[in-house]
């Protein structure tokens, strides 16, 4: 089936603007702790989530916001959760890495790789109780070295379960270039577990949607799991405020702090040879440079790409964008409203 690009763009834009608001609130200090954005992954998430039906399940990683939004979780509840409010999605107990929505069969985890086993369990209960449904596992390419995720691929194959293993490959795990720590290739790994694996551009919603559709079909037909490796990037970096991100944005200020100890490490007596030391400095600088280039100034933004396909109907696009922006403004407003007094308390 042809995807409805307008609907998909709306989903993606809604998620993007919501997350932009989250960034703002986090900057303001209203959201605590780490904050991992799904910005840059919207086409992958929309391409899958838009194909889900009632009874399908979602196993999410530390970037659970876009999938939950697109699946229909109330954005006000979500934002209140981030704010740690008792009237948040999880009563302020979970936070952005530990988001749960029972009615949507959606569970998150901040533990790398945990979405694999989680999707398998959802899929098993689906097969036994909700025939024709499936479970999606979202995870990054760095997670492909975590044992439980690898195990779960095998388990899904031998139990022939309807699981979509969706690897969002941005090439980075925090500040490590994933290929440097990953042997072989991810599609081969999937094959090694007996599962078809497909690589696709995760910024191109149409190609991705088609790949997703096929995998969804296989799953619903009882033909077992599929692995999808979809490329993407994270223009906000691994998480908000990571030192790398700060260097990318204010190189002079932040590099200053780093440089002193680094230079001292070059000169201190005892240690590696000078050649080795200089090599290491180069490696660190190259890592910095690469992350800035690859992550923070990404090439393809899935929203821009999709938008280009819709630009011919500019007025519709304008309307849509204005509408979504308004929606988000209202969401933020509502989320920030003072908590309602609980009746129980006043009685």
């Amino acid at each position: 089936m042809q995807p409805d690009l307008w609907a998909l763009y709306r989903l993606m834009l809604h998620s993007r603007l919501f997350e932009n608001a989250v960034i703002h609130l986090w900057d303001e200090g209203l959201i605590s702790g780490e904050m991992h954005m799904g910005i840059g992954e919207e086409a992958i998430v929309a391409g899958i989530v838009s194909q889900l039906i009632e009874g399908d399940a979602l196993a999410l990683d530390h970037r659970g916001t876009p999938p939950l939004l697109m699946r229909g979780v109330d954005p006000v509840l979500l934002l209140r959760e981030f704010l740690g409010r008792p009237d948040g999605l999880c009563a302020g107990m979970g936070g952005h890495m530990h988001l749960f929505s029972r009615e949507h069969l959606a569970a998150s985890s901040g533990i790398v790789g945990a979405s694999g086993p989680a999707a398998v369990g959802f899929a098993l209960s689906g097969v036994l109780q909700r025939p024709g449904t499936l479970a999606v596992a979202f995870f990054g390419e760095g997670s492909m070295n975590q044992g439980m995720l690898l195990e779960s691929m095998n388990l899904a194959v031998v139990w022939n379960l309807p699981v979509l293993f969706v690897c969002k490959d941005n090439g980075w795990s925090i500040s490590t270039m994933s290929p440097s720590m990953t042997g072989g290739n991810l599609l081969d790994r999937a094959h090694g577990f007996g599962m078809p694996g497909i690589a696709v551009d995760g910024n191109d919603i149409e190609s991705f949607y088609a790949v997703g559709e096929e995998a969804v079909q296989r799953a619903r037909n009882g033909e077992g799991p599929t692995f999808i490796r979809a490329s993407c990037s994270h223009p906000e970096g691994h998480m908000l405020g990571l030192q790398l991100q700060r260097i990318a944005r204010q190189p002079l200020k932040e590099m200053g702090e780093i440089a002193g100890p680094l230079l001292r490490s070059v000169t201190r007596v005892k240690g590696a040879s000078l050649r080795e030391r200089v090599e290491s400095v180069k490696e660190i600088l190259s890592m910095l440079g690469k992350t800035i280039k690859e992550e923070y100034i990404p090439g393809d933004d899935p929203l821009k790409l999709t938008r280009q396909k819709l630009i011919k109907d500019e007025s519709r696009l304008d309307d849509l964008e204005r509408e979504v922006l308004q929606e988000i403004e209202i969401v933020v407003e509502q989320a920030l409203e003072p908590e309602e007094l609980e009746l129980g308390r006043t009685q």
Binding site: G88, M93, L105, G121, L124, E151, N154
Partner: protein, 337 residues
């Protein structure tokens, strides 16, 4: 009342529950062979072999439990939980809290535990106090066939994760598997009353968190669990002859502890001896000390636990695990001071 072996009782109660509730499913390594009776009766959709992938299948059990099934997951022996600990520590135990109380994890983890048959320190641990440290997990350890059946039933009704541990000296299938191997040439100190005993025709729950007084006495309270209870009872009989009157409490559940029963008994006797096959430090034995002190009871306290990594040698092993000798000595010293 009919008599059953420990493992028969657990299986019987499990079958009763599975017949009533079709959401109960059972999986783990080799269950096709080891739980063949359940397989035959309930079919291969509900009784499943797994690969040797504990972290994947225990992790899967968590979400299966969250989405309408009631999985019983078998981790062959509890020592192996280490490879799958994340599913317990960071997921099963926490999701009810994370979800703001809106989503629970009705999961039963079943595993053999304990030593006393010479299998070495990576295969004979108890770890119940260790698991109990994690908020959100219940841990039960039956010491008789009747408790095995009643507690597994309760575990299957519990809204959140329960670890159900069966001591290998009690569960004849596991002892045959790992200890006896069909040999007539080996003997183990199997507590008779724990390995075989009366069992109801129709099982009723034994509520989680309910201890039971196995023996009344006035001088000293021994609190124990699993095989330790039987060792304590044996020691108590012998101490009786020396004029020391011992009360023995079988916790049955480690987490949550039956604080009422513990405090009541220790308040009477003023002396607490903990007999715990799990490691001594930072575990059950300490927690019992804390609970009684918190209750403001002045008491004398001693403990007989497993002191370090369990030796392979049967002789050294018997010294390392709580034995009747050590219990008696500890009791006597409690009376003297």
């Amino acid at each position: 009342m009919r008599k059953l072996n420990f493992s028969e009782a657990a299986e019987d109660a499990l079958a009763q529950a599975m017949a009533q509730d079709k959401h109960i499913i059972y999986f783990g390594e080799d269950v096709v062979a080891n739980r063949r009776n359940l397989l035959v009766r309930f079919g291969k959709d509900r009784v499943r072999n797994t690969p040797i992938s504990e972290s994947a299948f225990l992790g899967a059990a968590v979400t299966a439990a969250m989405s309408g099934l009631r999985p019983v997951v078998e981790i062959m022996i509890i020592d192996f939980i280490a490879v799958a600990m994340d599913a317990l520590l960071n997921h099963a135990a926490k999701i009810e809290t994370f979800s703001g109380g809106k989503w629970n994890v009705p999961l039963v983890v079943r595993a053999a535990c304990g030593g006393g048959y010479g299998d070495g320190g990576q295969h004979e641990q108890s770890l119940w106090g260790w698991l109990a440290h994690i908020p959100g997990l219940s841990v039960v350890v039956p010491s008789t066939p009747a408790d095995a059946g009643g507690l597994i039933l309760a575990a299957l009704e519990h809204p959140n994760p329960v670890i159900f541990l069966e001591h290998k000296l009690l569960a004849e299938n596991w002892l045959d598997f790992m200890g006896t191997g069909g040999r007539k040439t080996v003997q183990f100190d199997v507590p008779v009353e724990g390995a075989r005993g009366p069992a109801p025709r129709k099982w009723q729950q034994i509520p989680i968190g309910q201890a039971v007084e196995r023996r009344k006495g006035s001088d000293l309270t021994i609190i124990s669990i699993g095989v330790g209870v039987h060792r304590a009872l044996e020691a108590a009989d012998s101490l009786d002859e020396q004029g020391i009157s011992v009360s023995v409490i079988d916790l049955r559940t480690i987490s949550p502890l039956d604080k009422g029963a513990i405090i009541e008994s220790v308040a009477k006797t003023g002396r607490l001896l903990v007999v715990d096959e799990d490691y001594e430090s930072f575990g059950l034995s300490g927690e019992l000390a804390a609970i009684t002190l918190e209750a403001g009871i002045p008491l004398k306290y001693n403990r007989v636990c497993t002191m370090g990594t369990i030796p392979f040698s049967r002789e050294l092993e018997d010294q390392a695990l709580p034995n009747v000798q050590r219990i008696k000595k500890a009791a006597v010293s409690l009376m003297e001071n």
